[in-house]
Symmetry: C2
Subunit: 330 residues, 2 copies
């Protein structure tokens, strides 16, 4: 069996299993369903609420209500492998992406990872050596405001492509579906370079926003000293990208600084996670970059400092979450 | 008039004006009075309580109650210049040390600065070019726990010497007085090098303790990543010290790491300031070092990152303090 979708049946019947029903999974799942795909979801903590009421995406451009075809507790409950398993979970230690999709990956299935960070495809690629891995980057401001409730604030563009490189019909299909409902989408044949480009922004702004006391992008760029550090981190990311054969264009730093100055004040996802007592994606965004820097002999002192500090902040958060979950209030 | 003290009258009659009645001023003022010096104090926020009840230093080694000869609101109220003006205020922007001692400095007066940081003597030295400046470093764990109430927890050694270098009879006198009451003291003819040595510890541990989420020395050294950053900061301080002609011994980093591991878990002064909503000595400890690094062309990326982050954390604190002082609760 090749999966229940055949490309000549038309894209409307593409079957997609969305794993993770936070802001990213909820938003793209809802829009793909709106475009006509058959979308099921794996929801854990929000399972019962989503099974009862579906997923609601509130957006200035119009609200979308999304009733998944199936609401599962685990990908293992899947009644036949879909065309695409779309993974939209956070990349944090203990969350094993390969395990999360286990049971839903057939010979015709592609795995699409819409996740933050660098080098996050490696574990999945190792676990499914025969499977097409697609890597996606969401440029979106959206928050999960309750179980099955997503507030879409701004942007929404998805960049995706085959990992590590090359063309992909499935990537094109996702792109057509999203564009058919007005979500901008870009297919790239060099998605790893696209990840490095995104890291140029994420690596400085995410950690600084937390470590400098909980500040938005404008407060960071209002400080001459912090702007200097942000630029230095970006330079380290560029040197590192070049060292691993993904050189970025020389104006990427100015573009990121100027572009961010032109944006509304923006709270990073790491700051939102921190403020809401959730684990931050420290390893995916910073730890992997620092380890690559070390193994490639690229100096990255600013990045290392941010990583070391945030690593302990995250660890403290883990301990507090553990105490809360044990019912302790100390 | 040469001041009311003549050295041939014996050290018991040394006259000392202590400016600042926090932990440092309170502790050393009390012990110098105990040793027989005639000690007056300038106290601002705690003025009335200290005038009424003196200063009480609680210590495992025995409590000391200290009734200052005079309790002034300003050095300008001084009834004749003392032998020594001992300044024990924090070094924060807006606190002008030269202005604080104005009016109390006669031709025979020396100014002793027991303060944190590097290059903190410069403004006072420029304002009083004819006056002997003594520079002092307190190795002490002590907190002001209320107006005129000091809790002495551990240590207490004072290192002092003439700024920028050379011998000093006044430094010897202070040393004899303190040692006569059991407070260890060391006179150095190269106090600037001693400041660099102390900065080797202060520059990493103070900022990291705040930025990593409010952690003590053992938590920092329990993290491999943060220990690496602490060492890197120490290396930058050593390179900087060498560049400004105050080379430190090659084993100073290992000594500081190993010595700190052997200590009880210790909360830095910056962390105590942060937790209590007080301004941190970011400029004296980090800003001056970063500026020296830049003007001397010494790379200091780890130090710069810590400085930039803490600078904004401090600024946020300033704004919050301002709002509190305006009676706002937002």
């Amino acid at each position: 069996m090749e999966g229940h979708h055949r490309k000549d049946e038309g894209r409307a019947e593409a079957s997609i299993l969305v794993v993770g029903t936070g802001a990213i999974g909820g938003f793209y799942g809802a829009r793909l369903a709106q475009a006509g795909a058959r979308v099921s979801v794996v929801a854990r903590s929000d399972h019962d609420r989503i099974r009862a009421g579906g997923i609601h995406v509130q957006s200035e451009g119009g609200d979308v209500h999304f009733e998944p075809r199936q609401v599962l507790r685990s990908a293992r409950e899947c009644d036949g492998p879909p065309d695409i398993v779309l993974v939209a979970t956070k990349v944090i230690p203990g969350a094993d992406t390969a395990d999360l999709v286990q049971g839903a990956v057939g010979p015709g299935t592609s795995i699409l990872l819409i996740q933050n960070g660098i080098d996050i495809e490696e574990p999945v690629s190792r676990a499914f050596p025969e499977t097409e891995i697609l890597s996606g980057l969401a440029f979106i401001a959206a928050n999960r405001v309750g179980p099955g409730r997503i507030l879409h604030l701004d942007y929404g563009r998805l960049t995706l492509g085959r990992y590590p490189s090359g063309p992909s019909r499935k990537a094109e299909m996702i792109c057509s579906l999203l564009e058919s409902v007005g979500v901008p989408c870009l297919v790239t044949e060099d998605v790893v370079t696209a990840r490095w480009q995104k890291l140029v922004w994420n690596a400085p702004f995410n950690p600084i926003s937390v470590l400098a006391g909980g500040v938005d992008t404008q407060a960071i760029l209002g400080s001459e000293e912090l702007t200097r550090v942000a630029r230095a981190v970006m330079e380290e990311v560029c040197r590192l990208a070049a060292a691993v054969q993904h050189p970025l264009s020389s104006d990427v730093i100015d573009q990121n600084i100027d572009g961010t100055r032109a944006m509304k004040p923006y709270k990073t996802s790491m700051l939102l996670d921190y403020e809401n007592g959730r684990p931050m994606e420290v390893e995916a965004i910073l730890g992997n970059a620092v380890r690559l820097a070390r193994s490639n002999g690229v100096p990255a002192p600013h990045l290392e400092t941010l990583y070391a500090l945030l690593h302990l902040v995250n660890l403290k958060g883990d301990i507090e979450r553990h105490h809360r979950s044990m019912g302790r209030q100390d």
